[in-house]
């Protein structure tokens, strides 16, 4: 037997070797982190992290509605705004207002409703992001600065940015928002693209 050739038995032996092995999961994460840092890939919103984010945002929304309290969770540490980019030509802002007609319901039920609303919006292929707003507000006008009172009749309590295919679609998304059901109002405005 020459070293130049393998016998059939030897070939079979090589073929019996295991040729695939799944690498540890952390390698994948490390590579993605490095590629993101170098600007070689963009982060994708997966359903899994979107649901976590949606839950976080829904919880945040509840925190500022009617002074209600929802137990804070670690998921609220997620930077929601960093995860969604809205295409300006399809961008709409949904501004949430509340006045004395706003009557919040059970916190857990509201949480589930907001979460479902966000999941449903995402499932329809529409991107959405948002942020609660503090009560604190100052109106700057000319040389004057007017501080809004804590007990103002109308409050702007948050906003969502939606990437929709039409103005009507953005309005429909707003109409389905649980905020309406509880007596709040939502102002829908398209982005101005020059």
């Amino acid at each position: 037997m020459s070293e130049e050739h393998l016998s059939e038995a030897e070939k079979n032996l090589f073929q019996a070797l295991e040729n695939e092995k799944n690498p540890p999961k952390h390698i994948e994460k490390n590579i993605i982190t490095q590629l993101e840092q170098e600007g070689l890939i963009k982060k994708t919103i997966t359903m899994n992290n979107y649901v976590k984010w949606a839950a976080s945002l829904a919880a945040s929304v509840l925190l500022f509605m009617g002074g209600m309290y929802y137990e804070k969770s670690n998921t609220q540490q997620l930077n929601a705004n960093a995860m969604v980019e809205i295409e300006p030509t399809k961008g709409y802002i949904l501004i949430l207002h509340e006045d004395s007609n706003f009557e919040p319901g059970d916190p857990m039920a509201m949480f589930e409703e907001y979460k479902s609303w966000m999941d449903n919006t995402f499932s329809r292929g529409l991107k959405i992001t948002g942020q609660e707003l503090k009560q604190e507000a100052t109106l700057v006008k000319g040389e004057t600065q007017e501080v809004f009172p804590e007990d103002a009749e109308t409050k702007t309590t948050g906003y969502f940015l939606v990437e929709a295919n039409s103005y009507q679609e953005a309005v429909a998304v707003a109409q389905e928002n649980p905020h309406i059901k509880y007596g709040g109002s939502i102002e829908v405005k398209p982005f101005m693209v020059r």
């Binding site: 040729n19 092995k21 390698i27 070689l40």
Partner: protein, 178 residues
Amino acid sequence: MEDQKLVHEFLKSRSERAFLELYRSKTPHLYRMALRLTQDEYQSEELIQEMWVIAIRKLADFEWRSELKTWLIGILINLSRSKRKEKELSVEITPEMSLDSSSEMSFASAHDLENGIADLPPGYRQIVILHDIEGYKHKEIADLLDITEGTSKSQLFYARKALREYLSEDTSKGKSHE
């Protein structure tokens, strides 16, 4: 999905999702290869990470003169070599070397063979991996490793010889215990 489609999708979107599809289609095979090359899990992980970062940096310039797998293996091997301090063995084959006969590997198991490959010097090991496991020709190996075909042949010659000796000793030890 075909490699070209995976690469096209990735370059078009640069999305994490497209990268993961590409990564997951190729990495289990390459990781197994890295483990064989380095015989060390930590080093294998490092190799795979560095290989992908380099590959993604250069992917837009990849011209498909070889298969994607071969291109990735080339990056992997070069990284492995640059990390390895040991000098490459490079002995040109001579006619009398091919006349020798020795015991076969036929009594060994796949497990013994893995151990035998692990026991080879790194230069021999990579040739056995590329030729006998991956199925590359000497010309392709020469291109991948930037060596001559003669060097590839001679290294395979010595690698198999060493492997047979290892397995022969191993199996005879096994028999003596019986």
